[in-house]
């Protein structure tokens, strides 16, 4: 099989990338989406709650509804896809091996590849939690799948560790299904999820939130019978003597997401240790020419709307690559970050001075900060020359932020071969 654009992953990122590529002129039949689940849509399919689409569509949709808007477009455009299909490897020459009951063992040679594999949840094993290894410990996503897809209740008396949005949403979901959610524990001094979810998922159901606390031990031989919750100090270390046994039969973990970059690593693509995703240029092209990345496999997003807009652009960039408009430039300009910035995507620039706006009219820069700012000044400079400077209120470390680079700024960056983003406290 030979395809112009092979998209690995049929979640929100992959769907948007396919649409972007098609709308930028790639023939539908020259595209294929490879999806490992039974249906397109990714994790959105198990999100029965609403809140999706407020930014992108200006409407409040459920996960399934949000996904179906894109799936319908895929059908309308006639873009081929294969489900129940797992990619085993991506080679440096862009040969993708995958298996599926429909097509068997398949090799496809691609001109451009979009990595859109999403992320996985951190598991119990990555934490130093003492105790036994009984049944009744779930990641929030797998608890959600059991409830929303399979129709089963993971447990009846539940402690949730982690106050990310998935944890908060599962607190409400499990309560609605008749489980008693005893508490949500958060190791930090503030909630990781949105204020809206704290209100609608915890406060509305009288579910207590314990900040500065974590689970330090799991008790139970066969099924979980309890967990020990301890207070933590400012370095998140449990304080001795503060342990409290909470009797429960289930522990749900919502302790973070990790981009799934095993295929990326095996293809020899350079990763950014800060994002755990690929290092990309302004077209979201990785260190392997013609291989692009978008969505949560690149960096973990807060809301799917941003995944969509990012991935549509990546689809367009793919189309540009296939048409030969996007020539790999040997010199990559690093996008430096100042102290207050946790990471920035893209990490490099690689503009073609003559064709800067052929593919994209403007370039979006995504970043996270390493601490909370009440009022912050965000600046982008190139060799000391200020390209952008703006003040934003309430810049939180738990949120993703973005700024826009214009064609003019891009030209300066290309000329100076230098760029830096900084965030500073504004009085």
């Amino acid at each position: 099989m030979h395809k112009s654009v092979v998209i690995i992953g049929g979640g929100p990122a992959g769907l948007a990338a396919a649409i972007g590529a098609y709308e930028a002129g790639v023939e539908a039949n020259d595209i294929i989406i490879i999806e490992r689940e039974k249906e397109l849509g990714g994790v959105l399919n198990q999100c029965v709650h609403t809140g999706f689409g407020l930014t992108y569509f200006g409407e409040e949709l459920s996960g399934g509804e949000y996904a179906s808007r894109f799936i319908e477009k895929i059908e309308e455009y006639g873009i081929p896809y294969v489900t129940d299909a797992t990619v085993l490897s991506v080679s440096k020459s862009k040969v993708i091996k995958f298996v599926s009951p429909q097509l068997g063992y398949t090799k496809v040679k691609a001109e451009a590849v979009v990595l859109a594999m999403g992320c996985r949840e951190r598991s119990r094993g990555t934490l130093n939690i003492a105790g036994t290894r009984p049944s009744g410990i779930f990641s929030a996503g797998s608890a959600q799948r059991f409830v929303n897809i399979d129709g089963y209740l993971p447990g009846k008396r539940v402690v949730i560790l982690g106050s990310g949005d998935i944890g908060l949403i599962m607190a409400r979901r499990l309560t609605l299904e008749g489980a008693k959610v005893l508490r949500v524990c958060e190791v930090k001094s503030h909630v990781s999820g949105s204020a809206r979810n704290v209100e609608q998922c915890l406060n509305d159901f009288d579910i207590p939130l314990y900040l500065n606390s974590t689970v330090t031990k799991i008790v139970g031989e066969e099924r979980v019978t309890g967990v020990v919750v301890s207070k933590v100090d400012e370095n998140f270390k449990p304080i001795k003597g503060t342990g409290e046994l909470v009797r429960c039969d289930t522990l749900v973990l919502s302790i973070g997401l990790i981009p799934e970059n095993e295929l990326t690593t095996e293809a020899g693509i350079k990763l950014d240790k800060k994002t755990n995703g690929a290092v990309v240029d302004q077209y979201f092209q990785t260190s392997l020419p013609g291989v692009f990345a978008c969505g949560n496999v690149l960096h973990v997003h807060d809301i799917v709307d941003y995944v969509t807009s990012e991935s549509i652009n990546v689809g367009k960039a793919c189309a540009g690559y296939v048409k030969g408009l996007l020539r790999p430039n040997k010199t990559k300009i690093p996008f430096e970050i100042s102290e207050g910035v946790k990471y920035v995507v893209p990490q490099t620039f690689n503009f073609d001075p003559k064709k800067i706006d052929i593919i994209l009219k403007r370039f979006v820069v995504y970043f996270r900060v390493s601490k909370d700012y009440e009022k912050a000044r965000i600046t982008i400079t190139s060799n000391g020359e200020e390209l952008l400077s703006l003040i934003k209120n309430n810049i939180h470390s738990s949120q993703m932020h973005s700024v826009i680079l214009t064609k003019k700024m891009a030209q300066v960056i290309q000329k100076n071969k230098n760029a830096k983003i900084s965030v500073t406290e504004e009085a």
């Binding site: 049944s135 990641s139 330090t216 066969e222 099924r223 289930t250």
Partner: protein, 481 residues
């Protein structure tokens, strides 16, 4: 049914005895307290095939270790078990260590270990660049290796079943009675009778020995060892097993690749009250982290995907005790099998067969013996197959094209196969140990729902009846509203 041999315990020693005896025209039973093979010390240990320089010269341990290590390659090839002859290094940091390493080398040579060599600093770091820069020398043992211990026990038991042995699970022996022609072994509900009894009950050998009226002349001390397992992405941290120089406290904390490509660090050694206490402790994890960093300062312990613990049965005499009871004829003790029990196991099996032979058991080889795990072969997993084998497997059974566990590339074909193998898997942990589904970096986050559904479908039970490992370990608590 009256058996020729009844084996108590389906750990590595018990299954090895069953395997060795299955070659002969004998009726064999294995009774096991757990729900599966490898339910005790065999499940959680360092998985090292030690070369044989540790055990004091002249001990039974020394003799069986060197012999067992030599047999491992061929055995694992026959049975399709992951094994790698990776070699090991005992790393020295100072003059004291150097002296100890000299002693180990001499001891190893007396024990019959081949190829032992002392490396200087330069050669050591050339071989393993990640070893601490403050290391000054090392004892290199090229014959050492790594194996998947529970898969070895599965292979041995599956081969035994294929050749006619019968396994009784959930059979916790509560009494052993002497009968006219042998022994009656009972768990209170069911009784299994046989002419010979082999006690390979690991941590519980002392209790079994008391039941038959021949208490062991030493104590079995349960010592727990904690471990951390690192992501396969860290698999290149070391190619060989790295030990620190042993001292009076034991072999110390090691860093080693596993036969499946992960890195494992551990164990510590703490005496526990309960033989079944396999919980982990924060202090323990800190202790092994520190030990691992001593050997490999830049080891990426943040890549831990799980931690676990195993309990080993340390005999107070520190040697294996394998012999026919002096008081009870035809009753064989296989006790005090601590490290290097796994490495010694093939030789332990032969040693026991020899004891039985001397004791009068007639050994006549079967003519229809099947050397593999089943008539069809060794249940190769999809991820172990070559491209060509994968294509053929998918053509025969499309379920092999459906990946269930994305981290380890385990297919539905592998899972269904595990559920119907000679010793069937019916819990998610049983499937996990046979297929590696859920053993990767997401630790079952994605595949646990799928595996539960497949088990339910294959066994014809509701999904909420599927258990993690038996008893009250149900994964789910009923249907949603």
């Amino acid at each position: 049914m009256f058996y020729d041999v009844v084996i108590i315990g389906a750990g590595i020693s018990g299954t090895m005895c069953a395997y060795k005896l299955s070659k002969y025209k004998l009726k064999i039973a294995v009774v096991e307290a757990g729900i599966d093979v490898a339910a005790g010390s065999t499940r959680a240990n360092s998985a090292i095939i030690h070369a044989g320089y540790d055990a004091k010269e002249g001990t039974l341990k020394a003799k069986l270790n060197v012999k067992g290590c030599e047999m491992m390659q061929e055995l694992t090839e026959t049975l399709g078990v992951h094994y790698k002859n990776c070699g090991s290094l005992v790393v020295g940091f100072d003059d004291y260590d150097r002296e100890q390493i000299e002693i180990l080398k001499k001891r190893g040579e007396i024990n019959g270990v081949k190829g032992l060599r002392i490396l200087d600093k330069r050669e050591l770091h050339k071989m393993e660049p990640n070893v601490s820069p403050s290391a000054v020398c090392a004892l290199f043992a090229p014959s050492a290796g790594i194996v998947c211990p529970y898969d070895l026990a599965f292979a041995l038991s599956e081969n035994s079943v294929t050749n006619g042995a019968k396994f009784y699970f959930n059979f916790k022996v509560s009494s052993i009675e002497k009968t006219d022609n042998g022994y009656a072994v009972s768990d209170g509900n069911e009784t299994v009778t046989g002419k010979y009894v082999i006690s390979a009950a690991g941590l519980y050998c002392d209790e079994i020995a008391k039941m038959v009226g021949d208490p062991l002349p030493f104590d079995i001390i349960p010592r727990r060892g904690e471990y951390m397992l690192l992501d396969k992405a860290e698999g290149k941290t070391t190619q060989r097993t790295l030990f620190v120089t042993p001292n009076e406290k034991g072999k110390g904390i090691l860093v080693t690749p596993t036969a499946d490509g992960n890195i494992i660090v551990g164990p510590n050694a703490n005496v526990v009250d309960e033989k079944s206490d396999t919980s982990v402790t924060i202090e323990g994890l800190e202790e092994i982290s520190e030990g691992a960093r001593r050997l490999v300062p830049n080891i990426n312990l943040d890549a831990m995907i799980t931690s676990f613990a195993g309990v080993r049965s340390t005999p107070s005499t520190r040697d294996f005790y394998i012999q026919e009871s002096e008081k009870c004829k035809n009753f064989i003790h296989v006790a005090g099998i601590e490290s290097p029990g796994l490495a010694s196991s093939p030789a332990i099996g032969d040693y026991v067969v020899d004891i039985l032979k001397k004791s009068g058991l007639k050994l006549e080889e079967k003519t229809d013996y099947i050397p593999t795990r089943s008539k069809e072969g060794n249940f190769k997993l999809f991820y172990d197959m070559t491209d060509k084998e994968r294509k053929i497997a998918i053509e025969k059974n499309p379920l092999y094209a459906k990946v269930v566990c994305r981290c380890e590339n385990i297919t539905e074909g592998d899972v269904v196969n595990a559920i119907h193998r000679p010793i069937p898997a019916y819990t998610s942990d049983m499937v996990k140990r046979r297929t590696r589904s859920g053993m990767g970096r997401c630790q079952g986050g994605f595949c646990n729902t799928k595996v539960a559904e497949i088990i339910a479908r294959e066994l014809g039970i509701p999904v909420d009846q599927v258990q993690k490992f038996g008893k009250n370990s149900n994964i789910l608590c009923g249907k949603t509203k």
